[in-house]
Amino acid sequence: MTSETVETVVVEDDAGERPWQRALRRLVKRRAALIGLGVVIFFIILAVAAPLVSPYDPLATNWALVRKPPSAAHLFGTDELGRDVLARIIWGSRASLLAGLVSVSLALAVGVPIGLVSGYVGGILDGTVMRLIDAMLAIPFLILAIALAAFLGPSLSNAMIAIGISQMPIFARLTRGQVLSVKHEDYIEAARALGNPHRRIMMRHIFPNIVPPIMVQATLATAAAIIAEASLSFLGLGQQPPDPSWGSMLNTAKNFVSQAPWMSEWPGLAIFALVLSLNLFGDGLRDALDPRRG
């Protein structure tokens, strides 16, 4: 997770085209982003359809088939307890996707309102909140996540909470930045002059304008969250056995890289594919939404 933020100022185009229409048009032109989106959707479908698609029960052990190489019966081979790797990849997609989506949703749900209110209200509230946010940002992301995950206990849900909380400050700061740059625009001043209540102004006028950069950041943050889950698994926090997640599969498999490479190849490739796709899509989205280019 980095401190980078996206700076955009969204204004209506001369041609009268609404921003999102123009963005969609530009997005379609970037093939890499579309491929990325396609892969992400593929994994989501895989995760949802897991019970239908998976050849075996991902928890079914088989002592006779420990660490067997890929074969007709087990396309991706078996793991250290004789479980089918393909089944665990398919079911593990749920954990990895959840890790990404839930963490970021948590970060958004907490961070965006904080940034919105703080930026809009300003003053001492803003000052105090921003110091708190700065404090959280000053602690390296993974260290904060580790401390939180250790505090909550090793499990996938706790890892998601830890990652979500660690990502929250970035969204808060991003949102606040956007609010500040839009707060003094004419149409906002006009709305206030007309007597619109603050809440209405925040929700109807300010919020829609800050959605694009937040969307981009959310996509990139999802990618980072999935990697973070794998990282936490490496340290023993995160998804615990016997339930599969790509990160914990990779963690167990790292001790068998020479004897049973298939155990780590597949989860590694899966993480790589999903995270790369999210990154490509996020970058494409950013390009499409940036009014300065195009």
Partner: protein, 313 residues
């Protein structure tokens, strides 16, 4: 400028205060009694009681916080219960190690990311753009502990070119020092390369579309000259200041990289301390890194304002 600096320095205090409360709370509220965890296998009740008393573990939380902060303000960050060494000594010992790793990683990140970003911007929306983007992004898309293990197996075990893990201080042998750091710096730098690429590309695209560049083109200067002389110089400015801001990301990545490659730096120190409940170490190190991060941010902002006179007003 002075007012700006003073204001920012004043803001340091509440921020650090929040950091201290945050990390103190996280450490002290970790499940598991530090005295029991650090009393070792034997778990002798006398020893546990002794540790509790020596490290004030039986006092209420606010008192312990007060004692800790009082010590910090006097330059005493406490000691590691596990090996009974002052936290500041450990910081002094480990800081150069992670510093060197981070520096090398940053160099690698720039070496990969900046050219990739330039290429991607100049050949925007072509195959080269996608290729360069992928080349930079793949580092961000692989869990670095796995990449580390793969590299160790390839370069140390199979090829025998590099030491598998560990660290040799530069004072002892510069050659060995660099050999032990190549792989970890590459793993760490890979991830940051993507961020470098994104920012370079972004800045380059912005600049390439700017008026004075169009003027240069109109004057008939070759494309390469346009890129190298005008665009690059301006695009590199935010990239350089980015270095300071990426310090946090570098430290985050260093945590895992140091675990895999057994590099005795900050990252490894903190992680081991969290699991050993050596709370003074975690608190002290986090406070130091937070301070460093805030100061680096301040430096970056100052540099940015200095270079960009328009922002000073």
């Amino acid at each position: 400028m002075i007012a700006f600096l003073l204001r920012r320095l004043a803001l340091l205090v509440p921020t650090l205060f929040f950091v201290s409360v945050l990390i103190f709370g996280l450490q002290q509220l970790l499940p598991g009694d530090p005295a029991t965890a650090l009393a070792g296998e034997e778990r002798d009740p006398t020893v546990i009681a002794f540790l509790r008393q020596k490290y004030h573990l039986d006092q209420p939380l606010p008192v312990r916080y007060g004692l800790w902060i009082k010590g910090v303000l006097q330059g005493d960050f406490g000691e590691s219960i596990r090996i009974r060494r002052p936290v500041l000594d450990l910081v002094e010992e480990k800081l150069p190690v992670t510093g060197e790793l981070a520096l090398l990683a940053f160099v690698i990140a720039v070496a990969i990311g900046v050219p990739a970003g330039i290429l991607a911007a100049v050949k925007n929306n072509t195959a080269v753009d996608y290729g360069a983007t992928m080349a930079a992004l793949w580092g961000l898309s692989i869990p670095n502990f796995w990449l580390g293990i793969l590299l160790i197996l390839l370069f140390s075990v199979q090829l025998g070119w590099l030491p598998a893990s560990g660290f040799v201080p530069p004072a002892e042998s510069l050659k060995q020092n660099l050999l032990t750091l190549i792989m970890p710096a590459f793993v760490l730098g890979n991830a940051i390369a993507a961020i470098m690429m994104r920012h370079t590309r972004s800045a380059m695209l912005q600049v390439l579309g700017a008026d004075y560049v169009r003027t240069a083109r109109a004057k008939g200067l070759t494309e390469r000259r346009v890129v190298l002389r005008h665009a690059l110089r301006n695009a590199l400015v935010p990239v350089v200041t980015l270095g300071a801001l990426e310090f946090g990301a570098l430290l985050s990545g260093a945590v895992l990289t140091e675990q895999v490659f057994t590099i005795p730096g900050f990252g490894k120190l903190i992680v081991d301390a969290v699991f050993n409940r050596d709370y003074a170490v975690v608190q002290g190190v986090v406070l130091c890194t937070a301070l460093a991060y805030i100061l680096l941010n301040l430096l970056a902002d100052v540099a940015y304002v200095l270079i960009n006179p328009r922002l000073r007003a």
